[in-house]
Symmetry: C2
Subunit: 179 residues, 2 copies
Amino acid sequence: MPNVLVLLAEGFEEIETITPIDILRRAGVEVIVAALVDGIHVSGRSGITLHTDTTVSSIETRLFDAIFLPGGPGVKHLRADPRVRGLLERHAAAERWITAICAAPTVLHDAGLLQGRRYTAHPSVANELADIVATERVVIDGLLITSRGAGTALDFALQLVEQLVSREKAAEVAASICA
Amino acid sequence: MPNVLVLLAEGFEEIETITPIDILRRAGVEVIVAALVDGIHVSGRSGITLHTDTTVSSIETRLFDAIFLPGGPGVKHLRADPRVRGLLERHAAAERWITAICAAPTVLHDAGLLQGRRYTAHPSVANELADIVATERVVIDGLLITSRGAGTALDFALQLVEQLVSREKAAEVAASICA
């Protein structure tokens, strides 16, 4: 089974974070949630505190099948952290999946990973990302998967399962949750 | 603004729990998450550990505008806890909102709160709840709101905002998350 690294910063959007973790684990994917801070407690924009599995410091030299960046005000911390950029550049070079939702595609933009690509993001970052595809809830271009916000998190999560595991597994998980 | 009590037991379904908390807080509703255990750490069915705001022991004599019961394997702990039944009976008698998703309507059934009511639940508990309305994602009957599973959690959460706050606020939150 593939594995997915989730990078978690203070101020993450809770629905956007939890939905892919839950759906991917239901599909049998190994999900590793890593805190940017050196501890396991990270709080989201709506005041929910989670325990992460590990810290970015502990995993920054590892290679995963996919990286997922959730949105929310915490995106500013993802953008400011050179370890995040390093992980993204190394994973893109190794042809691994790069996935982001809401405002998080701005982190990919900073790393030059959106140039010439089809992608979407939250309308609130349209001033920075002029080429957002606004008509699709999830956009796939090669190994890049992007989505718009908490309201599209379930479509995004099921699409991750379809791409990383299979269309059949995505359909099975969707049926089990009455999607 | 109204307040909502969320009762959290080990094995809660993460999407079903987090989605209403996040959406209600975005709408300005006060959400109080209370652990059945005497501590603030509770782990969900997909291995995500949350911090609750308080414990059931600390709030069991209070009255809230609404009670929300998430689903998941943790429902068995909700069913086994006499404090949960006491809270439900007292809130029903005081004409407060009673809301549940997935398998959690079985807890309401145990307390006699589904008799003669329109409701839905996850198909996996249809053997216990013969009268599930299977064609609607969210069912409202008086002060009872029920829904089917993780795949309907966002519809459920937005319906809670519509009923507890206003239709305008629900539309505003839905637009802000690209629902």
